[in-house]
Symmetry: C2
Subunit: 222 residues, 2 copies
DNA sequence: GCCGCCCGAAATATCGAGATTTCCGGATCA
DNA sequence: TGATCCGGAAATCTCGATATTTCGGGCGGC
């Protein structure tokens, strides 16, 4: 049967799990990641754990200090501000290029991604905020679709890296973000401007979208 | 004596050595990096080698395939074109911001970096090209100085990553690049426009600088 | 002849133990 | 009192060996 089944290594599996746990906040910023602690938490040996942590340190999600082990990358208001500023710069380029290279396929995929997002509730509970993994996935997919037509895998990789980091901040403050995000649908406005080909409006709305989240998250970091 | 001497791990040391060997071309693009081969080459065990290769795979200098080991990232004309395009986008932002945030210290450091570069010969031999590590270092330092005032460590890290990759292509084709780089000093022109605060001219010159190298390198990839 | 399968050889990935370094509390001395 | 210097405990890092997977050639079936 499957002549070439791709079997993932333990290191790759635990890399993804640790990554998810950092991005979701269940491994808190600044937490010391003792090798033995991580081994027990995920039920594996030290070698794959060390390989995973080495990868994560290059991603910037983990800090590595020679002879002193690893810790979850800390967060700060200043770091987040710089992150959002840089993200606005790079996603603005990516969105401009995506629109410049517009094609029917891309526009249709974008509309579809928005439709799926709009049909999903942000919180599983209408009252108190309850994390909804499906909304997170579709939100990620929509923002990716916006810039996916930019023509540079390099730029997309940079944007993805910053998106992950920004999502970590947003999730850490999710309980605060949620009630302040009940207004008019910013995603629809961005979609409309993009599909109309109104570059300046689309870019402006996208930047405001990120900066609004920033200001809410910053209340949590104070 | 030294109460807090920072001792580097074997993994970090070999990470830097492999990195240098890939960037300098002494480990050729596409080469299979068998663990045992790397161990013997650098005279160490498998654990630090694997940690180093895992880091390099996140840097994009090495390709990792689960259960099938590692290989030096291959090169291609298309990859290089996309890299240069993206690099122009990002360094343009960084240079614009650096000039917008201009300060005396930054301008002076930039002038100094240019001076040092201009006093160093690109080739140790006036005739045939001979790699000069000092020129490489000062060249790197000058380009870094140009954008170092942009106010974003994120953007600088992205630019550094692309600079490393682009340098690899340039070094692979160095014998061809050298004789075609004997004309008027492009670095001086970029410096002058930057110090004068002529943003558009500086950005244009910088982009042309990269694109000229690109067209020369592409002759080697054909 | 050609495709698919199987099996030995080689390479990768993981485990467990040992060598090296850091950490931290207490003792010593000015 | 405060700074410095141990010394044992704990953690990191590395090595060697083992388990698991892939690779590649040869055999048999269609």
């Amino acid at each position: 049967m499957n002549h070439q089944a791709i079997i993932r290594t333990t290191a790759t599996t635990v890399y993804e799990r640790i990554r998810d746990d950092i991005l979701s906040g269940s491994l808190a910023p600044g937490l010391k990641l003792r090798i033995e602690f991580v081994c027990e938490r995920y039920g594996i040996g030290a070698s794959p754990v060390r390989e995973a942590l080495n990868r994560l340190s290059q991603d910037g999600l983990v800090v590595r200090r020679d002879q002193r082990g690893f810790l979850v990358a800390p967060v700060s208001r200043e770091q987040f501000a710089e992150l959002v500023k840089t993200r606005c710069w790079l996603e603005s380029i990516a969105l401009r290029e995506s629109i410049a290279n517009r094609s029917t396929e891309w526009e249709e995929a974008l509309v579809l991604a928005f439709h799926r997002l709009s049909r999903t509730k942000r919180s599983l509970d209408d009252g108190a905020y309850t994390f909804n993994p499906e909304w997170e996935e579709r939100h990620r997919a929509f923002h990716h679709a916006l810039i996916s037509n930019c023509g540079s895998a390099w730029l997309l990789a940079f944007c993805a890296e910053m998106r992950d980091q920004a999502d970590r901040y947003r999730k850490l403050a999710a309980a605060r973000v949620y009630p302040q995000r009940q207004g008019p649908d910013e995603h629809r406005a961005i979609l409309d401007a993009t599909v109309e080909g109104d570059v300046e409006r689309a870019v402006g709305l996208l930047q405001n979208h990120y900066r609004k989240t920033q200001s809410i998250v910053e209340q949590d970091l104070a």
